[in-house]
């Protein structure tokens, strides 16, 4: 086998591995991007850019680390870069009534299919929107920390690794982020914080 043929087969092997990882983690990556950016269009762009960057630097991926941890770092870095570049990301209120292109008045925006996991308790759409909107009020650093911890279920150590900060910083960001989010949700839905378990 010639040198180029070896290189080619190596490339094929990496390519297949990468494809498999994309298929396996696309859903989770999109969910993370959607919660960070707050809307479907930006989330798709962010996910595509992040996978593209991951592919370009795939040779540097350390296999001892779970792919999603490595990929989350790429995605959150891209998100922060984009956030700073734009000043503030375009956030679209999902509740606002708008007039569609086809002239339909008084409809709200279509959200992507937010099919709930049947095992989880059903939050009404109204609450989901309130929480989603509340997340958008947080600063990007706090939002990343809260989303990684509470939606993606990462440990503080993993978040510190992903965001390249100390565990103390992660702890403080999660705490302050949750408090700000709680205040935001409480403003609109104080009943969610009344005693008793959720419906």
């Amino acid at each position: 086998m010639t040198h180029t043929a070896v290189a080619q087969s190596m490339d094929d092997r990496l390519q297949r591995e990468f494809d498999e990882l994309v298929y396996r983690h696309y859903q989770q990556a999109y969910n993370l991007a959607y919660r960070l950016t707050g809307n479907a269009a930006d989330a798709e762009d962010l996910v595509q850019e992040a996978f593209l960057r991951a592919y370009r630097f795939f040779e540097r991926y350390d296999r001892s680390m779970p792919f999603m941890n490595w990929f989350s770092r790429i995605l959150t870095n891209l998100y922060i870069d984009e956030y700073r570049r734009r000043g503030r990301l375009r956030t679209v209120s999902i509740d606002e009534v708008y007039s569609g292109e086809d002239g339909e008045e008084g409809t709200t925006k279509d959200l992507p299919d937010t099919a709930p996991n049947p095992l989880e308790l059903a939050l009404s759409n109204e609450y989901i929107h309130a929480i989603h909107e509340g997340l958008q009020y947080l600063s990007p650093e706090f939002r990343i920390a809260v989303v990684l911890a509470d939606l993606e279920g990462y440990s503080y150590e993993e978040i510190a690794e992903i965001t390249k900060t100390s565990i103390g910083t992660v702890r403080s960001r999660i705490h302050r982020g949750r408090k700000q989010l709680r205040d935001q949700i409480k403003k609109r839905h104080p009943n969610l914080f009344e005693r008793g378990d959720l419906k």
Partner: protein, 203 residues
């Protein structure tokens, strides 16, 4: 353990991210303190709400990503770092300029001190402030020929000696008269007087 301390750690407590002892301490505090337990309850509820957020499904599948990836080129491999640990960045060469300048200044200083003109005065046979000093790092003149080293750190920024007409902050030639010392011979004020002068003043 005060409430402020406990409240700053409630999220970490909620996530089991504290040490065992600290978890225990906060748990016992929460049993006693209503204010902290209300705060904890609201944070617990916030986390609970977040965990119940549904997973969002994308409109497009991963195929679109893979199509884009097919056209992308992998990044160039990371350049190998030399064994001695310093990487030379041509565009950033100016960052090394100060280092080179310092080395050059030290070398040049050693040379320039020896070539400067000797003081024009010959009034004092004893070593004075204004005798030329050779750089001890680079003695280009044999020690026995060079003049006496100064006992203190040499002044790196001393001006080169100029001809007489050039005014200088440091007098390379003694003034004929010094208002502070009175009419003293030039040869005497090169050395610092060991005894202070007491001047009789009329009462």
């Amino acid at each position: 353990m005060n409430c402020r301390y406990v409240q700053s750690r409630l999220s970490a407590y909620l996530d089991f991210e504290l040490s065992g002892d600290e978890q225990q301490l906060i748990r016992s505090h929460l049993e006693e303190c209503i204010e902290c337990s209300c705060e904890f309850e609201s944070l617990r509820r916030t986390k609970q709400l977040l965990r119940q957020m549904p997973i969002v499904k994308p409109h497009t599948g991963p195929e679109q990503v893979l199509v884009r990836v097919r056209h992308a080129q992998p990044a160039a491999p990371r350049p190998a770092r030399p064994a001695w640990g310093i990487r030379w960045h041509p565009p950033r060469a100016w960052q090394y300029a100060s280092g080179f300048a310092l080395v050059a200044a030290i070398l040049f200083w050693g040379r320039s001190e020896d070539t400067q003109t000797p003081p024009l005065t010959t009034a004092s046979p004893t070593p004075s402030y204004f005798t030329p000093v050779s750089n001890p790092l680079f003695p280009t003149v044999a020690p026995e020929l060079s003049t006496v080293y100064r006992p203190y750190a040499p002044n790196l920024f001393r001006r080169a000696s100029y001809p007489m007409s050039e005014p200088s902050l440091l007098p390379s030639v003694s003034y004929p008269m010094d208002p502070m010392l009175g009419y003293q011979p030039v040869s005497e004020w090169n050395s610092i007087p060991s005894q202070p002068k007491f001047i009789e003043t009329p009462r």
